[in-house]
């Protein structure tokens, strides 16, 4: 609209230039892994960074899909992510909403207790003991229940609920809604951006589940894909083979190509979720945090 001065144009150009560089820095590693996973291994070794492969190869993917393990683990991860995120959202909402209601007696102390868990956590061993004595070991529940509510997400969601106008609620009540109906018909639809954001947070967390699975689950058919991914990546760095002086249990590590193919297979599905939730993203986190 307004005529731009030379100085402002220069500023814009420099700005765009810097942003493009920053974007490239973020994107190139991904592209490298992606194209690397389609490259023949000799080329990868000799050329270093390959963005456009001259020798195309599907060896990495062939290796991965030759075993049923990775597909099964992928299935496990999808299940954990979907079921876990649902559980997270239901429990987080059911806790956050009452805590946002002014007529809920004793919400102060409850909030304090929740805050406390953010500052001090039990740690690995006590948590393990709890999981064990609840009989959750070796079942998917051990990955779904212990982290059902994230204290931080709960607090942000509660502030989101807090800023809903009281009048809305009152008029709903006058129209004959009970508390549940208010939550379902009024509060939740209005908090969709926040819910979408937390769904993404939780989903990524579940997708990356690794350590808990190792700790709580002995049956390797129930392991999520990250366990597999980590093993392959570490093997290919030669880090697991015992130190030089120790045993000869050395197994030929999977090549770089396989490593990259695994990274692609295990990260692309969750990356695909982002574009769909992206529009809610900034809005959800920001709105929730305005009134802390």
């Amino acid at each position: 609209m307004a005529r731009t001065s030379a100085g402002s144009r220069l500023f814009d150009t420099v700005n765009a230039g810097i942003l493009i560089i920053v974007a490239l820095v973020a994107i190139i590693p991904f592209l490298f892994v992606l194209s690397g996973s389609f490259t023949a291994s000799e080329e990868l070794l000799n050329r270093g960074v390959v963005l456009i492969p001259t020798k195309f190869s599907l060896d990495g993917y062939r290796y991965i899909f030759s075993a049923d393990t990775i597909l099964r683990s992928l299935g496990v991860t999808v299940f954990i992510t979907v079921a876990g995120t649902l559980i997270n959202l239901i429990f987080t909402t059911l806790t956050a909403y009452p805590l946002a209601r002014k007529e809920f007696w004793g919400r102060g102390p409850v909030m304090l207790l929740i805050l406390f868990t953010m500052l001090f956590s039990g740690g690995m061993i006590p948590t393990f003991l709890v999981v064990k004595s609840l009989g959750l070991l070796n079942s998917f529940w051990s990955l779904l229940i212990p982290n059902a509510i994230s204290a931080f997400n709960l607090i942000v969601l509660r502030s989101f609920f807090l800023q809903l106008p009281d009048g809305l609620e009152e008029s709903a009540k006058i129209d004959g809604c009970n508390d549940f109906q208010i939550l379902l018909r009024i509060a939740l639809p209005l908090s969709l951006p926040a819910l979408a954001t937390f769904a993404l947070f939780y989903a990524v967390g579940h997708w990356n589940t690794f350590f808990n699975a190792i700790l709580y689950i002995n049956d390797n058919t129930k392991w999520p894909i990250q366990v597999w991914l980590r093993q392959i990546v570490i093997l290919s760095q030669g880090g697991v083979g015992d130190s030089q002086n120790m045993g000869a249990d050395y197994v030929v590590p999977p090549g770089e190509v396989i490593k990259m193919a695994v990274i692609v297979v295990s990260t692309v599905p969750i990356l695909l979720v982002y574009p769909f939730l992206q529009k809610h993203f900034a809005k959800g986190v920001l709105l929730g945090s305005v009134k802390g």
Partner: protein, 513 residues
């Protein structure tokens, strides 16, 4: 998990105590433990083949991408041979130590047989001292295979002089020199036999364009941040293996003259550009070999087969070969010795409650040393993985064997495979197997191997770091002898003096026993 740097506590080498016994016992048999309480009327072979299979639960690691399958044919045969029903929790090697630590801390959730990788770890030692594991020493003599376990190696795994585990046998010293044979031929050079000849070869590899591509793009030797190479040179120069014991005094290797000589040697090599100058940040030196940029590799001899496939892919004319270890300035060959084992099996008392149960578990391990089992692990199944020609086993397909047998069973390989039937193997493998065997006589032991120092357990990593930093700086010329001396003083003040004192005390104590 980065390649483990020197781990003084985990570090190999037969203890001096064991040294005298190693040679005596490598011929098999030997006295075994002749002390220990008398276990009256113990059946030497409990669980005869007619009785029902014994259920054994085990926690073990796997080093492949996928866990071994329990319903594979070799695994079934193993259970049949050992008359057991195995229930193994396979844990990926990348997370194994965490899993063990958590399991021990919680107890109550332990298997009957637990593979412990990091057996010199304070948590394990404390657990053993607190009586969480069975002391196995007194029982070993009742079993035909277990009683032939090497006392030197047993002493290496002992805690306060007691044996709480069954070690998994491995060669004492695997390290040696792997060299580009085609480069030697291109330049008309001989295999090096002495340090000077090796230096000469490396110099020619650097300057004389051994790959004949007209470009000055090669190094003599591939170097990375791993300590194994430095220690190898240190041994060649006649230095001790991490610690030296003399007249009641313990001295760490870096306080010896040989260490300073080695530092100077490497500094000279650095200045002459015999190795890659970015070595402090290089994690894996095999890459340089695979890229055809370096001609000498120092590491395990058996890496020859496992780690250089990419080289042949990109350069089918390349030829790598193992060469015998070279003699140092004193005209003798020295190689850094190892502990001779990799991980131990321990038996938790929470899961194995009675002595009868203990005997069942021990008898299972004992059977892993039977000839049938060793044949299975070494060769696989006849007709499927090997055939017999002239009384010798011949492998049918290396890859099939690796996938179906080696990767599945090798984590249970407790004994050395010498009882398995003789076989025809690839000449290059036969060669390095012989070299590894030869190394045994040149191995320099670490006198501190079986000694436990609380300070070292607590601060060992930081202490090692001080010296390693100074070492790197010296090699690249950032500090001189005086600077190294300062680092040394820093080491002593930061707890090194205490480590020395504790080792000396421990040494005196164990020597008395």
């Amino acid at each position: 998990m980065a390649v483990r740097e020197i781990r003084r506590k985990g570090l190999l080498a037969a203890g001096v105590l064991g040294l005298s016994l190693v040679t005596a016992c490598s011929g098999g048999g030997g006295g075994g433990s002749d002390s220990g309480p008398d276990t009256a009327g113990a059946p030497a072979n409990s669980g005869s083949s007619t009785s029902a299979p014994v259920e054994i639960t085990m926690m073990n690691q796997y080093l492949t991408a996928e866990p071994p399958k329990m319903d594979s044919e070799p695994m079934k045969l193993l259970q049949q041979y050992t008359n057991s029903k195995l229930n193994v929790t396979w844990v990926p090697s990348s997370s194994y130590s965490e899993k063990v630590t958590a399991s021990i801390a919680v107890a109550g959730d332990l298997p009957m047989l637990m593979l412990v990788k990091d057996d010199r770890n304070p948590a394990i030692i404390e657990a053993a001292r607190a009586g969480q594991f069975w002391e196995l020493g007194p029982y070993l003599k009742d079993y035909p295979n277990l009683k032939s376990l090497d006392p030197g190696r047993l002493s290496n795994i002992s805690i306060d002089g007691k044996v709480y585990g069954i070690y998994r046998w491995r060669p004492i010293a695997r390290n040696g020199i792997i060299i580009r044979k085609d480069w030697l031929d291109n330049l008309g050079l001989q295999e090096p036999k002495t340090l000077d000849e090796l230096l000469n070869v490396m110099k020619k590899f650097t300057t004389d364009d051994p790959d004949k591509d007209g470009k000055n793009d090669t190094f003599g030797i591939a170097f990375d941040s791993n300590s194994a190479q430095f220690n190898h040179f240190l041994s060649i120069m006649g230095g001790p293996n991490l610690w030296q014991y003399q007249d009641g005094k313990m001295t760490p290797d870096f306080m010896t003259k040989a260490y300073m000589d080695t530092l100077k040697l490497l500094h000279r090599m650095y200045v002459d550009k015999l190795f890659n100058s970015d070595f402090p940040v290089v994690k894996d030196r095999t890459t340089l070999i695979n890229q055809g940029k370096a001609g000498v590799y120092i590491g395990a001899y058996d890496d020859l087969n496992a780690r250089f496939t990419d080289l042949y892919k990109s350069n089918p004319n390349a030829k790598l070969d193992t060469v015998p270890n070279i003699s140092g300035p004193d005209g003798k060959i020295h190689v850094q010795g190892g502990t001779g084992y990799n991980s131990v099996f321990m038996i938790p008392k929470t899961s194995v409650k009675t002595e009868d149960q203990l005997r069942q578990v021990l008898s299972f391990i004992d059977k892993l040393g039977d000839q049938d089992v060793l044949n299975l692990m070494t060769w696989g199944i006849e007709g499927k993985h090997y055939k017999v020609e002239n009384g010798k086993a011949v492998r049918i397909d290396e890859q099939v064997y690796t996938d179906e047998v080696y990767n599945t069973l090798f984590q249970m390989m407790v004994f050395d495979g010498s009882k398995a039937m003789p076989g025809e193997i690839d000449p290059s493998v036969a060669k390095f197997n012989q070299l590894i065997k030869d190394n045994e006589q040149y191995a320099v032991p670490d006198p501190a191997q079986a000694l436990l120092s609380p300070t070292e357990m607590e601060k060992g990593t930081q202490l090692d770091q001080i010296i390693m930093d100074a070492r790197t700086k010296f090699i690249i010329g950032e500090i001189d002898e005086k600077g190294f001396q300062q680092a040394l003083d820093n080491w002593r003040k930061s707890g090194g003096d205490k480590v020395i004192a504790e080792y000396e005390q421990e040494y005196a104590k164990t020597a008395k026993q």
